[in-house]
């Protein structure tokens, strides 16, 4: 088996991390890789489009019920053999989702053999890095490289820049920037420049297409529902690029003024 790739996808909330993560997971599975996707969002929707729109029991749900959690209780097989895990978490505004990620990751590490057998493990991490729990997969040594998803809009770029600062702080290499387009002006140019100034590359430019939404509404990834679409090819190319990627950098975050200048 080749060296296991363990990546995390970060980015501003709502930017499309789960869509990208599940489509990349599906595309890699189509290429014959063994893949696991671990959703770290309390909403537990990272893997939903790989499971025909069905939700799976989360690690924290089971721990909350004080059950003795076994691998088969929390690792489910989705589209083309992709292993799906959801961390879960408390309802919004209650408890501590960050601590939840730490507890769930520790549990998974303890109970899952599959974790070691994968070619690719994707951690879909919610929002910005708001507290220590959200970098638990990295801190606990489960993630080796990070990708940051953004659009060319100012606020997602601002969040991406902050995340890069956080990654550098915790000594985690950045392997690339992915642009999930919102169809704003000069978007590719802006994000390419941002990636370059941060010290890395733009891995993919995912155009904004209705078909992604349509597939998600039906509970499927683009790879499963519309494999012949042009955007499926974009995900396929991104998946290949990620699997072949062997360079990463310690990102250097831009100062606020420079970042603002970049988006003008």
């Amino acid at each position: 088996m080749s060296i296991q790739k363990r990546i995390a996808i970060y980015g501003k909330g709502g930017i499309g991390k789960s869509s990208t993560a599940s489509n990349v997971a599906a595309a890699c599975a189509d290429e014959g890789y063994t893949v696991m996707i671990i959703g770290c969002d309390p909403k537990s929707d990272s893997s939903i489009t790989l499971l025909g729109g069905k939700r799976i029991p989360t690690i924290l749900d089971l721990l909350h019920e004080e059950k003795d959690v076994k691998e088969e209780d929390v690792v489910f097989t989705g589209y083309n053999g992709v292993k799906c895990v959801e961390v879960g978490g408390p309802e919004p505004g209650i408890g501590c989702a960050g601590r939840g990620i730490i507890v769930a990751i520790q549990t998974l590490k303890k109970i899952s053999k599959t974790l070691n057998e994968m070619d690719l493990i994707i951690y879909d991490v919610p929002g910005d890095i708001v507290c220590g729990g959200f970098v638990a997969p990295i801190r606990k040594g489960l993630v080796k490289e990070a990708y940051v998803l953004t659009s060319g809009e100012y606020m997602p770029l601002y969040a991406a820049n902050n995340i890069c600062r956080g990654l550098a702080k915790i000594n985690t290499p950045l392997s690339g920037i992915i642009c999930n387009s919102r169809s704003v002006s000069h978007e590719k140019e802006i994000v390419t420049k941002f990636a370059s100034e941060i010290g890395t590359d733009l891995m993919a430019f995912i155009p904004k297409e209705q078909i992604v939404q349509d597939c998600e509404r039906d509970g499927f990834s683009v790879m499963e529902k519309a494999p012949d679409s042009s955007i499926a090819q974009v995900y396929r190319d991104l998946a290949k690029a990620i699997m072949q990627r062997d360079t990463s950098v310690m990102p250097v975050a831009l100062d606020d003024e420079h970042l603002r200048e970049l988006t003008r």
């Binding site: 924290l60 721990l63 209650i94 501590c96 601590r99 939840g100």
Partner: protein, 370 residues
């Protein structure tokens, strides 16, 4: 004194300070909302003082999913088990960091008993913050009035200043010490008395600690009496029975009664048992006006709250229960500093003066030298 220093020795916790304040407000039950081990030692000690201390026992799941239901359940349970007239709910680091809101569960529990909610954690620089938060909440539910609240707040501010000036918050690190050998210090006091020196015996105690510090006053008076030097002694103590929260006034009354019974006359009543941070100024003024020519002073309780202005020419013997207080006191100019190491556990749940190690030593040494 640098207010910005980072103090690296462990210091009293604001959570524990809140618990003690609730006790002084005479709550019947205090619920710690947090992990089962939080404040364990003091929670146990407080049970000796007659209040029930329980915990919502939040575990890892509680941290992640919150402890709302656990708090509602514990409130119902304690109401049934202990039939309390007043309940306190106290936050902890864990519950406060995860953003637990205590008012909602208290409302949901809907008990026919007033509940003092104290949203506190142990991350405050000064533990007196825990007292203030508890008192603010007590004010809100009408357990204390505005006048008493303001009085307490002023005292606490001064208590914080006393600690910053010469107490455990005065230095980045203070090593604990057992102080001077009690036997030697006892010998020295007897020597001074025999020489006909005049001495001040000052108790400036913090609340219930007075039950043991008062024994030192009693012991010195007994020995002075045995040596025929009773007239050379002047006693001062902060045992005003009219000042402080209900339980604190009760302590003053009990100590005053015991002193009276033992024939000890307190020549100068220097304030309430919660006035240890400001009673030092009264002592200073009294010495300046009436006792400046005394030869020695034995100061127990919070000796570092007594200004050095008019005692620096006296031989000073201080008795503290804080092992980290030895060095600051020595540096202030106290020649002999002794520590009553296990004072606090012995003064909880009592209504009478309890024997101190130094008092016992002094009595024994006196027997040998008479």
């Amino acid at each position: 004194m640098d207010k910005n220093i980072t103090i690296i020795h462990p210091r009293p916790s604001s959570i524990v300070a809140s618990l003690y304040t609730l006790r002084d407000l005479n709550v019947d039950v205090a619920v710690l909302h947090g992990p089962p081990g939080c404040s364990f030692k003091h929670a146990r000690l407080l049970e000796e003082d007659g209040i029930h201390v329980v915990t919502t026992a939040l575990d890892e799941t509680g941290f992640v999913f919150g402890g709302h239901d656990a708090l509602v359940n514990v409130l119902h349970k304690v109401n049934e088990m202990f039939k309390p007239k007043l309940i306190g709910v106290v936050g902890t680091c864990a519950s406060m960091i995860i953003g637990e809101e205590m008012h909602e569960p208290v409302m949901e529990a809907d008990l026919d008993v007033p509940v003092i909610e104290v949203e506190v954690h142990a991350g405050y620089r000064n533990n007196t913050k825990g007292v203030i938060i508890a008192l603010e909440s007590a004010l809100d539910v009408g357990v204390i009035d505005k006048t008493e609240f303001e009085r307490q707040r002023a005292l606490l501010e001064e208590a914080t200043n006393v600690e910053l000036r010469h107490g455990a918050a005065s230095r980045e690190y203070l090593a604990p010490s057992r102080g001077d050998v009690k036997y030697k210090v006892a010998q020295r006091i007897i020597e001074l008395l025999k020489e006909g020196k005049r001495g001040l015996v000052i108790m400036n105690a913090k609340k219930e600690t007075g039950y043991m510090f008062a024994d030192i006053t009693v012991a010195i008076n007994e020995v002075a009496e045995q040596l025929g030097k009773a007239d050379n002694i002047v006693n001062m103590a902060n045992i005003d029975e009219k000042l402080g929260l209900p339980r604190v006034r009760h302590h003053a009354e009990c100590i005053a009664n015991d002193l009276k019974e033992k024939g000890v006359v307190i020549n100068e009543n220097i304030g309430g048992l919660d006035e240890y941070p400001i009673a030092g100024n009264t002592v200073d003024q009294l010495i300046k006006d009436k006792y400046s020519n005394f030869d020695f002073a034995v100061i127990s309780g919070v000796p570092h709250a007594i200004p050095m202005d008019h005692i620096s020419n006296m031989e000073l013997i201080s008795v503290t229960n804080g092992p980290r207080q030895v060095l600051p006191l020595k540096e202030m100019g106290h020649e002999h500093v002794i520590v009553e190491i296990d004072l606090h556990p012995k003064t909880l749940g009592v209504n009478h003066i309890v024997e101190s190690e130094f008092g016992a030593t002094l009595r024994e040494v006196a027997k040998e030298s008479l």
